[in-house]
Symmetry: none
């Protein structure tokens, strides 16, 4: 069962926008056992769209399309699909109601241009868009599906996970596939692959191990595919049992893509609260935690002390410590974490102070140097130094994950 | 002069790696006037590569390929190209010398597997790789070029800018192309397109307007293409001059993809400082600002007051205001912004308090409700209410951009 993805959008072809839709879709489809054979990016151009859809139907069993569904003149995907499938356009009353609801919610009146969003080809099955005005459309032709969805990433994501994956599963009934993702931290890909060499060589052919590195994290994904649902599931479990003792030192959790979710779950479970005090990470640790729905249960607040004055005034870090040891030091990291405990009144506080670059490094403290500390309400505190020399964004992401990993270790040790 | 890009690599098709090579290549090619008509991503599979290259030669004047040039068994691009162009493989002595140099540099001995990197199809023109072992290859067929380069991003980038762009310019002599991007805020795509209807209809055929929406932002891109370099440039400028009065109310800046960069530039220019006080945005406004290198010049700190206790204790928001009006209210947003000015000692402070969802909404204050306030060191303060009903992540991104837009307006008004 082969799928071709077509991403439509001029902005992709001039390189203004990186095509993250394709990787999200490929990941989600891969998880449930579909094979992507080609991803094509083309312009908002009727001739190209028609050619690409027709070629896609030749190469593969299913064509998934994103983009070109806005209400403006440059968006022509649905009219082109109507032409390909020889269908007239009609106004769909459910879509119209949804568009009206969204506009009244935002306090706007519906203009004739926006009302065009409710126009769909008569021959398609309409797919609901709960978070935007452009509906999805599904066409069936010679036992193959062609599905069009919005290019706005969060609309596409919502539609993919809620509607399109279930629709594809019921239509194509792919062979049974199970994945188990294991989150590890504290070891690089090549070192872990040395440790797992024998394990990997002894895996049966239908079970596959993938290494998925992220900023300062390494996810392992074990996938098993086959005809018999229960058998495949059991075989995967058996391999996981073999794998676990080998990676014990680096194991963080199962099936969580994001370390902040592991932290969130553990805090919820234990009924503990967290705050952060951030310098070089500039609020990203707090941002990562608060992306999780329900985070107000365990997350109380943050002080981003980007300048020394805030470190001293708000967090009561000693001016002398900053002078003697520098703002990027064990002493300051520890005082920041303890200051957070005092001011924000939580069970745990994480702090980070470092040099993100691209300037500001010295011989003693080169760019990438960072101190991360964890403190608790008993005023115990522990700090550790790292170097995450990298791009600014990657530095911040690696620091964020390292901070979560240190906190997890602490909580697990009963601190 | 149309180009098709083919990116080869299994990791791209399972969504493990985001295809940033494509956007880099598209940007570079676009700048010098080449038109990308398609970007195809395919697996390391001989049949798919052959089909995709042949289709590419049908659609376009030139095919640029990345990936599949490593020394291991799964890399088959050059052998497949040799087959397509009916060429035998030979060992290229210059490439061999380069591979040997690189290996001795790294302190490794050359293995037979690595020596295979010096094998190239006899019919190609070899393109030097100064930073890696895999050479580029250029084939000419019926007046069209097919060029293969490594998939490792920094090797590809080096080869593109140093060798391939000059080669394409001398071979194809493309038409002139210019783009201008305009950042707008405060108006939706469909409303702006209504305003610009006449302007758009009167554009000459070789000038094109595109709408590129982002969370709560709308970029407009005007592109002009033609034979005469100076004439195209002048025509584009003339259209920009016509466009500007129409969008004046929503204009933010030129050629900036990111609102935080516009804010950063303006603060730097004016020598002013900023802090943020965040509730529902959880530190994201601070994170967006501090992603910019050099942000410590103008950004001082943040207090994320996720719970009411922190609002009261650290920011001195009145408990009575929270009780009377609720944490998501004009009064609390204003007190938060003023609290930030007092505690973090900056010229400006932005605050945000709202209901990100998916739970926590009421009839009076549904999910998506948010108050954003801006304050200055004269203790002037202004708050505004919005509704950004959406996914949690999108709510946060929209709120962040709205906060920046409010601040920009304030600074521009001389507050």
């Amino acid at each position: 069962m082969n799928i071709e993805i077509i991403n439509i959008g001029d902005e992709l072809l001039i390189g203004q926008v990186v095509n993250t839709n394709a990787s999200f879709m490929a990941q989600e489809l891969n998880k449930v056992g579909f094979n992507i054979i080609r991803i094509s990016t083309i312009a908002d151009n009727a001739k190209d769209i028609e050619l690409c859809v027709k070629e896609g139907l030749q190469h593969s069993d299913c064509v998934l399309i994103t983009g070109g569904l806005g209400p403006t003149k440059d968006d022509i995907t649905k009219y082109t699909l109507a032409k390909i499938f020889e269908s007239e356009m009609i106004e769909d009353q459910n879509v119209l109601a949804n568009v009206q609801k969204i506009f009244s919610h935002r306090g706007y009146e519906l203009t004739p241009t926006n009302r065009l969003q409710a126009q769909v080809p008569k021959k398609c099955k309409v797919i609901e868009n709960l978070v935007g005005t452009a509906p999805g459309m599904c066409f069936e032709t010679n036992g193959k599906l062609v599905i069009s969805m919005p290019g706005v990433p969060f609309e596409m994501k919502e539609m993919m996970t809620k509607h399109i994956i279930p629709l594809l599963l019921s239509f194509y009934k792919p062979s049974a596939i199970f994945h188990k993702t294991i989150l590890t931290q504290g070891i690089g890909e090549s070192f872990l692959s040395d440790i797992l060499e024998d394990f990997e060589q002894n895996l049966p052919k239908h079970i596959h191990l993938a290494y998925l590195p992220q900023a300062n994290l390494l996810r392992l994904r074990l996938s098993a595919q086959g005809e018999n649902h229960n058998q495949v599931k059991e075989e995967l479990e058996a391999q996981i049992n073999k794998l676990m003792p080998l990676i014990n030192d680096y194991f963080i959790g199962f099936d969580e893509n994001d370390l902040s979710r592991v932290v969130a779950k553990l805090l919820e479970q234990k009924g503990k609260t967290l705050s952060t005090v951030e310098s070089c990470t500039g609020g990203n640790i707090a941002h990562a935690i608060t992306l999780n729905a329900g985070s107000s249960q365990y997350f109380k607040g943050t002080i981003v002390a980007y300048c020394n004055q805030v470190k001293e005034d708000v967090l009561e870090v000693e001016a002398k410590s900053i002078e003697d040891f520098g703002a990027v030091s064990k002493e300051v990291a520890q005082q920041m974490a303890l200051g957070g405990i005092k001011k924000l009144k939580t069970d745990y506080c994480i702090s980070a102070t470092g040099i993100a670059g691209p300037t500001g490094g010295t011989d003693q403290k080169p760019i990438g140097t960072i101190w991360i500390a964890v403190a608790n309400s008993k005023r115990e505190v522990q700090a550790q130094q790292f170097n995450f020399f990298s791009s600014r964004e990657n530095f911040i992401n690696r620091a964020t994950n390292q901070a979560f990993a240190m906190l997890l270790k602490w909580i697990k040790e009963g601190k």
